[in-house]
Symmetry: C2
Subunit: 187 residues, 2 copies
């Protein structure tokens, strides 16, 4: 089983979805911690069905093309539950901006400052979006968030990770930009 397989099972454990629906989720909702394109999702669904982790049924639609709606099986749910509590396999992080920073001493100061200001803005915008979502969740899901058994709590927990990540990344970009500006004034 691939990690993508578990990502799909995680979505199907909450609701039945088509390959198209899964693609939307992978680009949006869960896209900031796991993403995939439809060209990877469709073959993976076939493999999951082959392994008995999901089943599908064709749903005929009148106002749209027909679709295959996938449902997680008992075996699929068991596999997912087991995977969740296993320590994650350590993956190498690859951060291109930090890599660029490693060579920033070679760069034109003004252009470097601009780069980090732009990235700061990107992360602050993402942060603002997450903070909106957070406010909405805390209002709408008040009761669900009192129990960690709810998918709502799980979604909220991942969002808090996103918020923390974006806030720190933006702050670091600001620190780098400020450092260059202060130490090399108008070079």
């Amino acid at each position: 089983m691939t990690t993508l397989g578990y990502a799909i099972l995680g979505l199907l454990s909450r609701e039945d979805l088509s390959g198209y629906d899964l693609t939307q989720r992978m680009a949006g909702r869960v896209g900031y911690f796991w993403s995939a394109k439809h060209s990877q999702i469709y073959p993976e669904l076939a493999r999951l069905e082959d392994g008995g982790y999901v089943t599908h049924s064709v749903v005929e639609q009148r106002e749209r093309p027909d679709k295959k709606v996938y449902e997680i099986t008992a075996e699929g749910l068991d596999a997912l539950k087991e995977w969740v509590i296993q320590p994650p396999v350590p993956r190498p992080t690859r951060d291109e901006l930090t890599l660029k920073t490693y060579s920033v001493w070679l760069a034109d100061k003004e252009q470097a400052v601009q780069l980090f200001r732009e990235e700061e803005l990107r992360h602050e915008e993402q942060l603002a979006h997450y903070e909106e979502l957070r406010a909405w969740m805390e209002g709408e899901w008040q009761e669900d968030l009192t129990s960690t058994n709810s998918p709502e709590f799980a979604s909220y927990a991942t969002l808090r990770r996103g918020i923390s990540y974006e806030r720190e990344y933006a702050a670091w970009c600001r620190w780098v930009a400020d450092s260059i500006e202060r130490r090399e004034p108008s070079e």
Copy 2:
């Protein structure tokens, strides 16, 4: 040019290195923001040399097997300088622990708490290591860090990113573990 190519150029802009040396760097020093195995590095060096970004000379050693030491060319340095100030191509982040968190509502609470405590520890140990390095740099490189033209400043800046990342990740793990423990006591 691949990102790995620029990673190699970034290392060679600081000092001449062999493929073996580069492999050590990619596993250690810069490994927390970009990493590669020797099986990827050797072919990439050949491509870089083909493109005129690096040259190599064979250094004969008496106490060890001979080695090829690579040196960055003027063209290589130009390419690196240009790349550094370009906005990074947005890569999808893939975080397996956050993905597991998305399905944590299905998990046994005790085992889930254990998972997040273990991960918290991992990140705190990494953080402690980085903080040691930081103290050493701030002491040893005091003068170099006053100018952003120095490779020392660049190394210091990337280290601060690592510190910020590990600190926040550990804090988030702690928050998740605490949440599960408080809201589902001894279930």
